[in-house]
């Protein structure tokens, strides 16, 4: 074990129907991948409120992985497209906040793609490792105060993610 290696902490949001099952499948098939990702199960990638991502980053995550069903395969018909457009806007917002857009990644993984889930996870850990720890919003001592994190969670009004893209 190399103590000098930066080990990022990553929060992964998974869809109950595809990517969470892909993670299950990776497990059943005993595929090994980087242990840095901790998963939150949602019913759909469409449930992903961008503030969840900001919350995770504010609370100490170095990166966030969002996973959903392949376009056209959503169990709720088309909600993953909504996740996609939120993701694209979110990246712009993060850039505006001075956070590397690469800290958030969107991956499509069907329930059958355990191998893809494992590979993408490991790859993402490497990408975050290259970016280094997220220093955003942290005061000199380290972590951000809770009041601040509450505020920062809502600097972006969630509706802006819908309004801008709803024709």
């Amino acid at each position: 074990m190399d103590n000098n290696t930066f080990e990022p902490t990553i929060i992964g949001f998974t869809c109950n129907w595809c990517s969470y099952r892909a993670a299950d499948l990776a497990g059943t098939a005993r595929m090994k991948y980087a242990p840095n990702v901790r998963l939150v199960r949602l019913m759909c990638s469409g449930r992903l409120d961008p503030t969840f991502v900001l919350r995770a980053l504010a609370q100490g995550a170095d990166g966030v992985m969002i996973t959903g069903c392949h376009p056209g395969e959503c169990h709720y018909l088309e909600q993953n497209y909504k996740a996609l457009r939120r993701f694209l806007l979110l990246k712009r917002v993060l850039a505006g906040l001075g956070i590397e857009a690469g800290r958030v990644k969107l991956v499509w993984a069907s329930a059958a793609e355990g191998a893809k889930f494992a590979a993408e996870t490991t790859a993402f850990v490497e990408e975050i490792r290259k970016l280094g720890p997220l220093a955003w919003g942290k005061d000199e001592g380290g972590r951000m105060k809770d009041e601040e994190s509450e505020n920062s969670s809502f600097i972006i009004h969630p509706s802006s993610f819908e309004k801008e893209v709803t024709p």
Binding site: K32, Y33, A34, P35, A118, A119
Partner: protein, 198 residues
């Protein structure tokens, strides 16, 4: 926490001893070879216009690669008979980059000195030498030098053709040279170093 690099994950997935050759060829091929996806259907061997002169059909070579039969594969004449027509590539149901794999096998055979007939490797090398000297290919010099070495008996027969080409003004007898040969040389030199490290 231990470091889980790409390489470590990949190494685990491909630790199967026999797959190392397949993996090596795949890594040396331009683009993504999809070599491991071959289902042995024979579309390539069926499509090949020059299959009748090949010792092994491409399909057989892929099976041999999978079996780790390095010398047998590199010694095969198959890669040298390939005419790069890409029929197999567009028909392959598994999208294997067959023609590019053939290029890879040629390169590996040359490095391992495992080709049976030096005609093709020499032709390629002569061509490359010309390009590295002039930056352009030089058909006349290439053809004459090549025929001289490999088909001397054919030369009298080919001479009328060559003369015809010269007579019709279709074969320059003097090589053209690009202006910034120094630049090209620097690029190729660096590329050769990178080739060795990859």
């Amino acid at each position: 926490m231990p470091q889980m690099t790409d390489e470590r994950v990949r190494a685990r997935l491909t630790r199967e001893e026999d797959l190392s050759l397949l993996h090596e060829v795949s890594m040396k091929t331009a683009g993504v070879s999809h070599l491991e996806m071959c289902i042995q259907c024979g579309t390539c061997g069926g499509s090949c216009p020059s299959a009748m002169d090949m010792e092994h059909t491409p399909r057989m070579l892929f099976a041999m690669l999978r079996a780790g039969m390095r010398d047998e594969v590199l010694r095969s004449n198959t890669q040298w008979i390939c005419v790069s027509c890409y029929h197999c590539v567009v028909r392959c149901p598994q999208e294997v980059h067959i023609a590019d794999v053939m290029y890879t096998l040629k390169g590996m055979a040359i490095k391992a000195k495992l080709y049976q007939d030096s005609t093709a490797p020499d032709f390629s090398q002569t061509f490359v030498d010309m390009v590295e000297t002039y930056g352009r290919s030089f058909e006349f010099g290439l053809a004459s030098r090549h025929y001289l070495k490999h088909f001397p008996l054919r030369l009298p027969g080919m001479a009328p053709m060559g003369l015809g080409m010269i007579a019709k003004g279709r074969m320059g007898i003097k090589p053209k040279k690009i202006r910034r040969m120094d630049q090209l040389k620097a690029i190729l030199e660096r590329a050769s170093q990178l080739e060795l490290t990859s």
